[in-house]
Amino acid sequence: MNDYENMVRAYRKAGGDPKVLRDPKCASLVVNKNRILGKRKIEGIRVFQAEELPKGVKITLITQKGYRIEKPVYLCFGILPKRGLQEIYVDVKIADGSSITLIAHCTFPNAVKIKHVMSAEFRIGKGAFLGYHETHYHGERGGAEVIPQGKIYIDKGGRLDTSFTLIKGKVGKLRIDYEARAKEKAVAELVVKVYGKGDDDIRIKEKAILDGPYAKSLIKARVAVKDRAKTMAIGITEGNAPFSRGHVDCIEIVQGKAQAKALPIVQVIDDRARVTHEAAIGSIDKKQLETVMARGLSKEEAIDVVVKGMLR
């Protein structure tokens, strides 16, 4: 089995559907470590470049103005060997009035000592839309260090809808750092869902800066930790413009000897702006557990149902 086939196999394990990588109507990119194994560009994408670097890849994607790309672009990143470093530099520009969704699956099934760094810059034009959804799949050893960092600039009336999901396998160390800056009437929604196990060390920082009037944001973190895993979720929202509205919503479930911290930071410098936050940390709600157990599930099965639902 060659590297491409192995990556596709890992992609399936990560929750991806390999058919889409063969679909001529879907743009896609498959990368193992720093090697580009497959790439397809479709109509509506003006530039789709991928360049191999010594330690990773650089990706540039620019959409055509006013073009709404119906089918998502599928990105498959990973490291198949047990050890390795992968640096991914992403430069995405969503032209005015255009729309695109990127679905990235990152897979490290054999990780013993892996480092995966993503440094991304997304620029969303006027009235444009970007969906960016990243799902991770890790093996059970937890030997990875995952550092996704993103700066997102949303122009007037633009919209960002992003999610980061890591609920399968054990990660090791995770450092998420996303920052979205929204101009007038722009909307940013940032969602992170993570399940930490073993000795996982998780730190999530999501920030929304509402610079334009009527800009809106939602920062949402859903984290469950068990065993001895640790998590810290920082949600920051700045309401800097009149009538900007932001909300930070964090729920963390703690099981066993795990530890969780949540730190919502909200700031308003215009008296017509409004930013709210809510955070809840604790064990699983007793009522939820008993409701599920009253249908005949054991306590462990009930915990699984509640946690998986929350992280969906």
């Binding site: 859903r222 729920i251 709600d285 007793k286 009522k287 939820q288 008993e290 409701t291 599920v292 157990m293 009253a294 249908r295 005949g296 599930l297 054991s298 306590k299 009930a302 149902v305 509640v306 998986k308 639902g309 929350m310 992280l311 969906r312």
Partner: protein
């Protein structure tokens, strides 16, 4: 089917159940009718084995076996379940998944659809709705009943199934309860509204942690209307005033 003997429960030093004696027969709809604060829901939690509701005295026997010390899961696996008065909400859990939790064959989608139809929820609209805060109180209540229907328990404890549902839907709820019985479940219905008791085979009046009377629906509903509802203390004095 269910025998409760001398059940006593004290919470934070307050006696909640003061010696409940009751028998629920197989196939019947047995209603516990009482005013708010009578201890009805506490009795339901006790029967289900909810944490913090372990009785200090008394026995609960289900299908001939002592279940007083069994966990909620163990009781449920024996065929006992509870539709909660204030049902929990679950982020991300879809109605079809929630309904199938108690089913032996969780892939039986027809049964899930049938259960939703029985509670007058359109399956097309509700199968993939999350059982979360977006549901209204009435919708959540119906989904709770549907999950009990889908489970087909031997004994279903329904704690105030009518609360949060408007009067126009009362008949629907009564029909649902009748359907549950038709599908083989014995019903232990808890309510503070006497009109709910009309479909029962037997009604027990509960006051101040005691079952004060058990009899036919008409008699007990009349008694409840005449004596319990106007009672200023809501405290049963210890013996009945005839």
């Amino acid at each position: 089917m269910l025998e409760i003997k001398g059940l006593k429960l004290t919470l934070n030093g307050h006696p909640i159940l003061r010696g409940i004696n009751l028998e629920v027969k197989k196939g019947e709809i047995h209603t516990i009718l009482g005013l708010n604060g009578a201890g009805k829901s506490s009795l339901a939690y006790c029967l289900m084995g909810s944490e913090g509701y372990k009785p200090q005295e008394g026995k609960i026997r289900f299908l001939g076996n002592d279940i007083t010390n069994l966990s909620i899961s163990q009781r449920a696996r024996r065929g006992l379940t509870l539709a909660w008065q204030e049902s929990a909400r679950f982020e991300g859990l879809l109605a079809r998944e929630y309904l199938s939790l108690g089913m032996k064959n969780r892939e039986d989608s027809k049964r899930v659809t049938h259960a939703l139809e029985l509670v007058a929820l359109n399956p097309k609209e509700f199968l993939n709705r999350a059982v979360n805060k977006t549901l209204s109180g009435g919708e959540r209540k119906r989904i709770e009943l549907a999950s009990v229907i889908a489970m087909r328990p031997k004994l279903a404890i329904l704690d105030e199934p009518d609360s949060g549902i408007d009067m126009l839907s009362l008949d629907d709820i009564l029909n649902v309860i009748k359907s549950m019985r038709k599908e083989g479940s014995t019903i232990f219905l808890i309510t503070h509204r006497e009109e709910m008791a009309s479909i029962s085979d037997r009604v027990s009046l509960m006051c101040d942690g005691l079952i004060i009377k058990t009899g036919r629906p008409k008699e007990e509903m009349d008694y409840f209307k005449l004596h319990c509802k106007p009672c200023p203390t809501h405290k049963f004095p210890g013996k009945l005033k005839e």
